[in-house]
Symmetry: C2
Amino acid sequence: MISVQEAEKLILDSIGEIETETVALDATLGRCLREPISADRALPPFDRATLDGIAINSSAYNTGQRKFQIHGTAAAGAPQQELPDIKSCLEIMTGAPLPKLADCVVRIEDVDITAKTATLKDNLQLEYHTAVHGQGSDCKTGDELLTPNRRLTAKEIAIAASVGKSEIAVSKSPNIAIVSTGDELVSIDQIPESHQIRRSNDITLSAALVSAGFPNVELVHIPDDPELIETRLRELTARCDAIVLAGGVSKGKYDYIPETLAKLGVSIRFQWVSQRPGKPMWYGQFSRDGSRLPVFALPGNPVSCFTCLRRYVIPALEKWTGLPPSKPLYAKLTHDLTFKPEITLFLPASTDPRPSGELWAKPVLFNTSGDFISVAQTDGFLELPKTRSIFPEGEPFQFYPWPR
Amino acid sequence: MISVQEAEKLILDSIGEIETETVALDATLGRCLREPISADRALPPFDRATLDGIAINSSAYNTGQRKFQIHGTAAAGAPQQELPDIKSCLEIMTGAPLPKLADCVVRIEDVDITAKTATLKDNLQLEYHTAVHGQGSDCKTGDELLTPNRRLTAKEIAIAASVGKSEIAVSKSPNIAIVSTGDELVSIDQIPESHQIRRSNDITLSAALVSAGFPNVELVHIPDDPELIETRLRELTARCDAIVLAGGVSKGKYDYIPETLAKLGVSIRFQWVSQRPGKPMWYGQFSRDGSRLPVFALPGNPVSCFTCLRRYVIPALEKWTGLPPSKPLYAKLTHDLTFKPEITLFLPASTDPRPSGELWAKPVLFNTSGDFISVAQTDGFLELPKTRSIFPEGEPFQFYPWPR
């Protein structure tokens, strides 16, 4: 039985980097950027008015002039104009290029306009580039604005759009099969017999993977029949980039999965992790076309399955697709806690962010690894190290938020 | 000019509750639950083995018996069996119903099986329901497991699936038009003239809304032509549930938007908020079929636009769809800061969660509201209140994470 840290390291060390593909910018949300994004021109590309008003030369105002003749309007989207002389002005709209000979913008609230004359208030603070976003002040041509290997969220998409990247190189989105087995499972819309339960692990893992940014998921249910299991798994190893098994991985007589996978070339890297929940978890890999592809076999108990997905599978998929690890979060325990077994405890907890800037977490003491009801009231779990058994109120531990 | 808090209150107070619709469970991720989810039977529905091993009666073991004759196998998914007598056993698989006369499960690691006999180790702690998840221990029939008005994430979907909700009542996903205007804007794949810029606000707002759980978004660009603006806005107010305008809302000569919207029955609730960035923002509503529908007019500067979306639009959409407000987060400033104007500052910042359980945030001092480049290096923004001008290192302020 290996530790949580050993299991994590074995998985992450074995994971390479998935291929790159080029997709339209509006399809990149949540994907991992795989090329540098550079400025194709200086930004802003011209001296740009930051508000509506009049464009003047500040030296005229600062030497006492208050009335300026208006010679027209500088609109956003129109080419740069020019003042007839430094004693005149143009009306100007937010986003418009500052006219030649002007060097600042006076906001409309500080101007009284009658007929063709703008009269300015006294005591305005006007100087070179007041209310002007100077050409090149954000970046120069060729500046690297985004480095590769980061998640494309709205703000990265904003930058890519502004420099004209209508297509962009991103990591491929792995095609993930979620495989459930077990004859005790019936579909959600059936009324189960008393010895049966509804199949919920697959839809839960699927939702969690989609939330975590891995939408390319398919659900596969296989009855407890050795021949069918082999046929379906053979097909999945030929076609899918990753396999996540929910159940069928412990030591039971009817757990055909491990031997079938071995037959199909999946080599197990480890099984049994000193953790609760999720002890029977195993991890393996298979080769296809020169790539090593991951197989995660998660325990069938719903909470075990979900916790292992969060703790191991999602970080592995993030690494595989080139995403940086999330910043680790830490939260303080709201209660004293004793946990005797020498294994790591993943303790579902509800966060309590306080106005002091401290993050606290209130653990939910769930009765077994099958109890999803109390877990639904939590935001994630605290990881309590296996080397200890007493965990005092107020001590911080690493906190893993659930996917949402 | 109203305060940030007044603007927030005016918006949230004006927002009602959107209609409900029933959708398939696998399409509910991120939606707001609008019906209670109750247990259709006790869970677990039977005394359920939590691991693989043998099912025995603990009194036999505790009175000294170590060898148990194996009378068969209890598999997950098969109906409940019965021990021939309390001195015998069945092999049992995780998830299987505990046989009658048995009262606990001994894990396979503690049993030596030869031919038809199981020999148990000494000194095992066995008692009633060891390794058994008792019938009804998670919930009784009719227990309310999920209350309405919460976001459906993977863990809520797990519960809904386990009680057979293959369809579920959720809030309608509002159909949101993102309208950009301005003749200075060209499409992403064009090479702009020096006085033009690429259109990035719409794709950015769209990505942010999708990330925040509002995927039903369409992008509409309208040139600066009063007739076209009226035609398109008329069509959008007839058809869309919400309108978000990016730009065209300040006091400029070519900003036809406010007067056109007024003509179409949109009444402005407020304009001008004492905040940086985002001062010119306004908010209005229009009526259609007895519902009051929101119009958010955000300033055209990219950072202003994005910040106002996060601060006002997303919380409004959350309230409208019945979602509870997010737990407020607080982070401590990593640097002393002075900000003179008597307006609220939304200060982009990069979080630094520390092992102490404290959340810190490092502000990025961006030069203007048009500079998205430095904002892309942040995780969200701190809200610094307008009543102060000195903000010392170590003081906590409310932190708003960017959508991701």
